[in-house]
């Protein structure tokens, strides 16, 4: 035991240097998805979003081609935007045409009209009427639509604590007759089955 003590300071110095390196790495590496490898792993260019400056990686929840469940797709958005602008960019990515093999559960023609984040971190997203009128209906489809929006925002932004959907500026009871949309969703949506 005694003869081991001499190298303790050396170990501490090594740990110190290592931690400093690690801290610097995390401070200066773009985004916090460092080693993320998500399904598809594709970065789709978007007309509305300029991608010349520094970017950050985000993940959007889209519908899988086969299983009718959600999966994440990695995208990039400019990192020098305000939170509001970032959320808008993320929703834009969610609405835009996904790559082969994936589907967006947001109906065609849907626009994000405005966005507001209150002091408790609840994000209110005001969508155009298409999100409701052009929806194919049905519980699972509704859950996939609401889940893709809610999960995408709660997953990517620690600052966002809740997500509420509005249509044409008004609160809604449900999007398609089933899912409770009367309050902000504070947790990601999941559907648990016994295996």
């Amino acid at each position: 035991m005694v003869e081991r003590r001499w190298f303790l300071p050396i170990v501490l110095v090594i740990i110190g240097i290592f931690s400093l390196g690690l801290a610097l790495y995390f401070l200066y590496s773009p985004g916090h998805f460092g080693s993320l490898s998500l399904t598809g792993n594709e970065t789709t260019q978007n007309i509305d979003i300029r991608l010349s400056g520094p970017t950050k990686k985000i993940a959007v929840f889209l519908v899988t081609g086969d299983g009718g469940s959600l999966t994440t797709l990695e995208k990039e958005i400019p990192s020098d935007l305000t939170l509001i602008e970032q959320v808008k960019a993320v929703i834009q990515n969610l609405i835009s045409k996904p790559p082969e093999g994936l589907m967006t559960p947001i109906p065609d023609g849907t626009r994000l009209q405005s966005l507001f984040i209150d002091s408790s971190g609840n994000a209110y997203l005001d969508f155009s009427r298409e999100i409701q009128q052009s929806h194919i209906g049905g519980l699972t489809a509704e859950l996939l639509t609401v889940g893709s929006i809610v999960n995408t925002l709660l997953f990517n932004f620690k600052e966002i604590k809740g997500v509420q959907l509005l249509v044409e500026g008004s609160e809604i009871e449900t999007l398609a007759g089933h899912i409770d949309c009367t309050k902000p969703f504070s947790q990601m949506l999941m559907l648990e089955n016994k295996t």
Binding site: D66, G68, S120, G137, G138, G147, D180, M188, L191, K194
Partner: protein, 494 residues
């Protein structure tokens, strides 16, 4: 146990044979409370150490489910969940995301979990402290964290009793901020309490609130106008702290009174203007809700056929079947092409004093592959703690937590119907699931929503309009209700 270990060992040896440049190792799991020691077999590949998921599930006593919405594996421990997605270094624990270094992955068909998931993510799920000693290769799982299990109260003529139940005995001290407040100082504890703050509203105690404050946990007892004195003591089996607050002076000096069991379910929020919660002992009346109606068509099933039409047809047949086979009263929320909001449907169900609620729908998805008969109960995630209390009060309506009391019974009803379907069709096509469904949220009775089949699936689509299939659905739902009624009657006898 020995056999399982042997089996895992063999599997790992085989894996080693197949996967080049991989390396086997072991690590010790030591449960500090002295209960057990466990050896886990690990496999290193590309500098990353992995443990087979099966071993992790077994060693930590977790249960494994499938999240069909997000396509993830869910590990759960005492109602908390953490996700695993192959090839993604992201876990969702209690519905928030956390990243870790290396992705779980399949190696030779076996799902392997990286060691850093076990070290960094499992402690978020598990209720115990963990520490990893990499030189000795020992993962120590500490003694349980302190947990406040429940907060209850009972109002008697001359005093109000507050009972704080914990998972183990703990030291506490009472700080007086008289005449308004008593503070119970506890070591830092975790708590998920559905009734926090607890609205007592007696003449001596207004509210009780549990909060975390700078590394300690405090129970704040807001005193009422008639407060005169208090007394406190700790009891075991189960471990709990009892505080009696008196409207007469010297309450703290009188001999300790016999502890009466706290009146559970009496702590209704004053906002709850609902009819008093009832415990059904049998089934006397059933309310059936044909989904959609009026302007709300539901899914377009054909040129002139909507979800709202099918749900009404089946509801009418079901109503007839229940009346005939159970001899009980059946009410429909609508008997024509009427417009009703989800909340109006629930209100209707509550006001008719029915004993169970069944909402009928046709399902739909974006993919033709998903199919089957599904029975949903309410997914009631706790209210967010981010909203400030005032805002929460304004937002909270009487209906928000109504169904929570009945969730156990609702799930039982769902399982009876699912079982009846699978037995009748000799298949596994029926499942029970949970979703945040508005129509179920406010129901003060066991309540389920039935999705009869997927319109987006060609097989289900074909069946849904057929007389035979509708007959089958009606039969299995009635069978399920009969079994549920039998269960209620048995429980009330014991």
């Amino acid at each position: 146990m020995v056999y399982t270990r042997l089996k895992l060992g063999i599997v790992l040896i085989l894996l080693l044979g197949f996967v080049p440049s991989s390396q086997a190792n072991t690590l010790e799991l030591v449960f500090e409370d002295g209960r057990s020691r466990n050896t886990l077999y690990t496999l290193s590949e590309g500098g990353v150490e992995y443990i087979p998921l099966n071993q992790v599930v077994q060693a930590f006593n977790l249960s494994r489910n499938w999240d069909s919405l997000n396509g993830m594996i869910l590990l759960s421990y005492r109602g908390r969940t953490a996700s695993i997605t192959p090839d993604q270094p992201i876990a969702i624990v209690e519905r928030r995301s956390y990243s870790f270094k290396n992705s779980p992955k399949y190696i030779e068909g076996i799902l392997m979990i990286p060691l850093d998931y076990v070290i960094n993510i499992l402690p978020l799920l598990y209720d115990k402290e963990m520490s990893w000693d990499s030189s000795r290769r020992v993962l120590r799982i500490g003694s349980s964290r302190i947990e406040i299990a429940s907060l209850q109260h009972a109002v008697y003529t001359d005093y109000t009793r507050i009972v704080i139940q914990t998972n183990k005995s703990i030291a506490y001290k009472v700080v007086e901020k008289l005449p308004a407040l008593l503070i119970l100082d506890l070591p830092e504890a975790s708590f998920i309490l559905p009734n926090n703050p607890l609205q007592v509203g007696s003449n001596v105690v207004k509210t009780v609130k549990v909060i975390n404050s700078y590394g300690t946990t405090q129970v704040l007892i807001n005193l009422g106008e008639q407060f005169a004195s208090y007394n406190h003591f700790a009891l075991n089996d189960p471990p709990r702290i009892v505080i009696d607050v008196y409207s007469t002076p010297g309450g703290g000096n009188t001999a300790r009174k016999e502890e009466k069991p706290p009146l559970v379910g009496e702590s209704l929020n004053p906002l709850d203007i609902l009819p008093k919660a009832r415990t059904p002992t049998t089934v006397r009346a059933v309310i059936i809700d044909p989904g959609h109606g009026g302007r709300d068509n539901g899914i377009a099933l054909g040129p002139d056929l909507w979800e709202k039409d099918i749900t009404l047809t089946v509801a009418q047949k079901l109503s007839e079947s229940i009346r005939r086979r159970l001899g009980v009263r059946v009410i429909l929320t609508r008997n024509a092409n009427e417009n009703l909001s989800p909340v109006e449907r629930t209100t209707l169900a509550n006001s008719t004093k029915a004993d169970l609620f069944i909402s009928l729908h046709v399902n739909n998805s974006f993919s033709p592959n998903t199919r089957g008969f599904e029975v949903y109960t309410l997914d009631a995630p706790g209210t967010s703690d981010n909203t400030n209390p005032e805002a929460l009060l304004v937002k909270a309506s009487a209906l928000d937590h109504a169904q929570e009391t009945y969730l156990d019974k609702s799930e039982r009803l769902a399982n009876y119907i699912v079982t009846a379907y699978n037995e009748e069709t000799k298949s596994k096509d029926a499942r029970s699931k949970r979703a945040p469904l508005l129509v179920l949220k406010g129901a003060i009775m066991p309540a389920v929503q039935i999705e009869m089949g997927y319109f987006s699936n060609p097989v289900d689509k074909e069946k849904i309009t057929q007389e035979d299939f509708q007959k089958l659905i009606v039969k299995v739902i009635t069978d399920g209700i009969i079994n549920f009624k039998r269960y209620l009657e048995q429980v009330s006898l014991n």
